[in-house]
Symmetry: C2
Subunit: 367 residues, 2 copies
């Protein structure tokens, strides 16, 4: 695919709470990196409304015009959405990120976890510095298939159904193997672990079976299995042994938060929601009502999510100069963190503005 115009269109959805703060910071970083690493298509960012606070004024959480812009854009950059006091009329929370996953068929939740020099050690074992794995979460079915479909009978029995499809499992497994292949090409370990509960559930035994079929087509990559409970233990005991994992939607939700904790928290955990046609990039954290508006948010996960976006665009458009920009952002974050800028979230004193300034200041030396 070639780039149709001379720029790439990015739909920017800052959302609520600290989503807005880290997004503003991120747009600064993205524009600084374009100046530092000249060449390659510029990004044209357009801000769109969505989220709980927008819902409070308009009655719409994800307006059609925003959804449409996401569909048309080359990529979506997303802050965070939701607010405790603002809910749909039926009392449910405002979660446009889940709607977007379904609407744009963003089936692969990509959650890379790695330790950055300068970060406090959460685990006492020094091997924790070698943590470098990717969790791939299926995002269009699994238990989340039940969202909006659950039944409550006579205020006595509630039911939610988990759905695992052959197609859904095959595509996300295949995605995981392609991630592993790219890791292998960069000289990294590249084992894919299917994380399930095949010992108890028919749907999970099916997930494993389809995974195995896909694994057989990727002979160059080692494949194995783990039960989700055992994986939660492994993540705590020896996360440095992990590489690429693929799992069901709900399990992936739990494990990815656990994993983020291992490297300091949600403020260090970027993520990508990727489909065959679209992709959305967002930090793994939420809107953090407790610290919103105080300048305390850690924008690193947002910056690293933008780097994931540049990587994805680079591959899609076969444009290595976008990849250069992604590496620049990552290195600048690394330099900022390892030269004493410790975000408040990680026990330091650096607020959002300081982390942003130091990251931008590090860009020239990151080349």
């Amino acid at each position: 695919m070639t780039i149709s115009s001379n720029h790439l269109d990015i739909a920017v959805l800052p959302g609520d709470g600290i989503g807005r703060e880290v997004m503003a910071a991120c747009l600064e970083v993205l524009s600084a990196v374009e100046t530092t690493a000249s060449g390659g298509p510029p990004l044209k960012t357009t801000i769109w409304n969505a989220g709980a606070q927008y819902y409070a004024t308009s009655g719409e959480a994800l307006p059609d015009i925003t959804l449409d812009a996401c569909r048309k854009a080359d990529a979506v950059l997303f802050g965070a959405m939701g607010w405790p006091d603002i809910r749909h009329a039926d009392g449910t929370e405002i979660i446009p990120q889940l709607d977007l996953r379904m609407a744009l068929d963003l089936y692969a939740g990509v959650r890379p976890i790695r330790w950055f020099p300068g970060l406090p050690n959460v685990l006492s074992d020094p091997r924790a510095r070698d943590i470098d794995f990717v969790l791939i979460r299926e995002q269009t079915e699994g238990l989340f298939y039940a969202r909006g479909k659950g039944e409550l009978i006579d205020d006595r029995d509630a039911y939610d159904t988990m759905h695992i499809s052959r197609a859904g499992t095959a595509r996300v497994s295949d995605f995981a193997f392609r991630v592993a292949e790219r890791r292998q090409a960069r000289g990294k370990k590249a084992r894919v672990t299917c994380v399930d509960k095949a010992n108890v559930f028919a749907s999970m035994a099916f997930f494993r079976k389809v995974f195995d079929e896909v694994a057989a087509k990727h002979g160059g990559i080692e494949a194995d299995h783990a039960y989700v409970d055992a994986m939660a233990l492994t993540m705590v005991k020896k996360p440095w042994t992990l590489d690429v994992m693929v799992t069901e939607n709900m399990f992936g939700d739990i494990l990815s938060d656990l994993a983020a904790g291992l490297v300091g928290g949600m403020g260090m955990a970027p993520s990508a929601d990727v489909g065959d046609a679209h992709a959305l990039f967002q930090p793994a954290h939420g809107t953090a009502p407790d610290i919103a508006g105080q300048g305390k948010a850690n924008p690193c996960a947002m910056f690293l999510s933008a780097a994931m976006m540049l990587d994805w665009l680079a591959e899609k458009h076969n444009e290595p100069r976008l990849e250069t920009r992604a590496r620049l952002i990552e290195s600048a974050v690394e330099i900022a963190l390892s030269s004493g800028t410790v975000p408040i979230e990680l026990g330091g004193a650096a607020g959002c503005a300081t982390v942003t300034r130091e990251t931008i200041a590090a860009l020239p030396s990151a080349i």
Copy 2:
């Protein structure tokens, strides 16, 4: 209730692999503690067959005679069951522990997690030494309701249904508050946290609602909520702030393994499966085929499970001398660990026999 005969009947199910090894060690400790702390009803332990290795010879994983003995006993002491190569004819694994939970209606999975002096620090924050919480896992419904009922249609779509009932949620929530009340009476923190995914699932919103109703009846105990993904993060970031938690079956399975990892692993994690009429006590670990038969198993979780059994019997029969024995076992484990006996599982050199010998040796000084 008074004790009907002069002894208590304990049905002992060693099971498979290291289950047998840690159970043999535990019976030694139980008999030593009876000698050390004389008085109170003696335990009469009877060993019963069940498990994968028994299935291989008999075709039955949980024979009626064993199930019947469990029903009649005052308590069940359980090692571990299951073996990778031995499966039911349909390929599913042999998991009598799940059958027992259903058959004996053991609705509350009690999983206490605390740090023992002498244990290696898994988390680098020194506050991790204050870890002392209890996870209560609902064990008769939730996603596990689907076990054996899952549907696979045309080798294309698989479905498993999660079931949350009002009665099931109310009784396990009430159980959690009673645990908190006992903690409070012992001067410990006593907040109960409902761990759910009420923001996405109807069944989980219902779980939270019923929990809130039960909480209202226990005014003396603080109650709050957390989403399961956020709880996985909290367990890694600040587990010392946690107290009593109650959650759905599948979530509890994942979180309890995570939690065990925080204090060194499954070999330090005891558990109890408690119902209104029966109770079963087992270490949280499995049969560990990789180390079975080598004398390397860590029996501490089995000893601590036996202590939980003595506590449960003490309360049920209003017999403080059983509680004395429970405290003795716990203290002896603590003394053994903190005086240099480091189990192999925790990076030390002490095998099952050494840990057992040192624990028994510590009993007199534990009084």
